[in-house]
């Protein structure tokens, strides 16, 4: 069982973008929403629509992401959404402070219109950011991460660490599965669960120790090889960096990301828009 990257080349708008653009855009949206503390549905809904559009444009097959989405939905709806609905905490104080009419009562807890609207807003706000996070491993070429970080301004050494980590990953996954098979051949029973937590954890040692110790030996050999090639003495060349070039679409996305980031601050602190409030149409549904 070898580790396989979830990445697959697809000729889509998203995958034609420069990886740097995608990372920068991702951070612009996240920080644009979270740092100015935006809770206004009039700002969140357009961003949600944009994230959903970008997600669909990535054309990731449903069977690939089904498990991830099930987990996220459980987290978002059951833990976060339900908590928001019942407690109303986690966002702006106005949710719990407002004298919002009670719609119904669960286990002695008043569920107000404000709490219902807040729970809905929070779920949409979280999914907006998740929609941008999930496609990354499926649509970004693992061979280009290191180069992308280098071109984003990280040092040669940090970028090379990224690159090397990607290179080692399949090797260690292979070592791990080989170790697991060998230990099983010797009678090691992974599935046999007994004893307390500590003894069960100790039972995992025969799987972990050989892989980790082998990797420390490999490390010394790689260090020797790199030192012999004078790694780190002068700036290195990054051949793949020729593949990274901002095109028109990249400038457009970077501009959009910048507008979202700055827009969040301007709306919140300049124009006073973006705070949590309950729209009249929603209140009218209940009263």
């Amino acid at each position: 069982m070898l580790v396989t990257w979830k990445y697959r080349p697809r000729d889509t708008f998203i995958q034609r973008l420069d990886p740097r653009t995608r990372l920068l855009f991702f951070f612009c949206v996240i920080f644009g929403l979270t740092l100015p503390d935006i809770w206004d549905y009039r700002v969140i809904l357009p961003l949600f629509a944009m994230s959903l559009t970008l997600y669909l444009m990535a054309r990731i097959e449903w069977k690939d992401v089904r498990r991830v989405w099930i987990f996220i939905f459980i987290l978002v709806f059951m833990i976060v959404g339900l908590n928001a609905l019942l407690s109303g905490r986690g966002g702006p104080a106005s949710v719990t402070n407002s004298s919002s009419p009670v719609v119904f009562e669960v286990l002695g807890i008043d569920v107000t219109i404000a709490k219902i609207w807040f729970a809905l807003t929070q779920v949409v706000r979280m999914i907006t950011m998740t929609l941008l996070a999930i496609p990354i491993p499926y649509t970004m070429d693992p061979n280009i991460y290191g180069t992308a970080f280098r071109k984003l301004g990280s040092s040669d050494k940090v970028a090379f660490t990224m690159d090397l980590a990607f290179r080692f990953l399949p090797t260690f996954a292979r070592d791990f599965t080989i170790t697991m098979d060998s230990q099983r051949a010797r009678g090691y029973e992974l599935e046999k669960v007994n004893g307390g937590i500590a003894s069960r954890l100790r039972k995992l040692a025969p799987l972990i120790i050989p892989v980790v110790m082998q990797s420390t030996v490999t490390g010394e050999e790689v260090i020797d090889a790199m030192d012999l090639r004078a790694f780190g003495t002068t700036p290195r060349t990054w051949i793949k960096s020729d593949d990274l070039r901002y095109k028109t679409a990249d400038y457009f996305m970077l501009g959009l990301g910048f507008v979202i980031l700055v827009g969040g601050f301007v709306l919140r602190f300049g124009l006073g828009i973006g705070e949590f409030f309950i729209p009249d149409f929603f209140t009218n549904l209940f009263v």
């Binding site: 992401v65 986690g90 499926y138 693992p142 090379f160 660490t161 980590a165 080692f168 030192d227």
Partner: protein
């Protein structure tokens, strides 16, 4: 073994940062299909002990890179996406654990092992606290959910794993290192 300064960042740190990251990524990914011990909503991920071990053995930079890149890789190959605050939290976990590296003289000595475990647990606390508290910004949860729902289970699980597995890793490493003569 630790004749370099704590914050040095050379070839050794680059290579072990990458190796630690790849291992942490692989073992986190393996957590998806290996039956792991669990109690309530606390999961015991053995990968964490490997991350703390890399910090302990090779210093704070290696710990940080292994945690940050490793968590990103683990999430990526499992298909979770990219959750930057948990990656930074994992990085901090390795970094704080790595602050003990310069003080470890003998990986087999009881005193050194206890010191490493204490730094490891502090690292777990710092890293998971960062990740849980920043969830308040990204998911808008309240401090109660952040602490009870995210921090406490993550802290308990990771602290137990560190306490149980880190000493085993350190003793095994002492044997490998002495055989290699470095």
């Amino acid at each position: 073994m630790n004749n370099s300064s704590t914050w040095e960042f050379g070839t050794r740190q680059v290579v072990y940062g990458a190796i630690g990251a790849a291992l942490y990524g692989v073992l986190s990914w393996a957590s998806n299909f290996i039956p792991l011990p669990a109690a309530g909503n606390v999961t015991f991920r053995p990968a964490v002990a490997v991350l703390i071990f890399f910090g302990t053995a090779y210093g704070p930079w290696v710990g940080f890179l292994a945690g940050f890149i490793g968590n990103t890789l683990g999430d990526a190959i499992s298909g979770w996406g990219f959750f930057w605050n948990w990656s930074v939290g994992n990085g901090l976990m390795g970094l704080v654990a790595g602050l003990v590296a310069a003080q470890i003289k003998d990986f087999r000595a009881q005193g050194d092992i206890i010191k490493a475990v204490i730094y490891g647990i502090v690292g777990v606390a710092v890293g998971m606290l960062f990740a849980s508290l920043t969830e308040m910004l990204t998911s808008g949860i309240d401090i109660n959910t952040a602490l009870v729902g995210y921090f406490v289970p993550a802290f308990i699980g990771n602290a137990v794993v560190t306490t149980v597995l880190l000493p085993i890793l350190m003793v095994a490493f002492a044997a490998v290192a002495s055989r290699r003569g470095r």
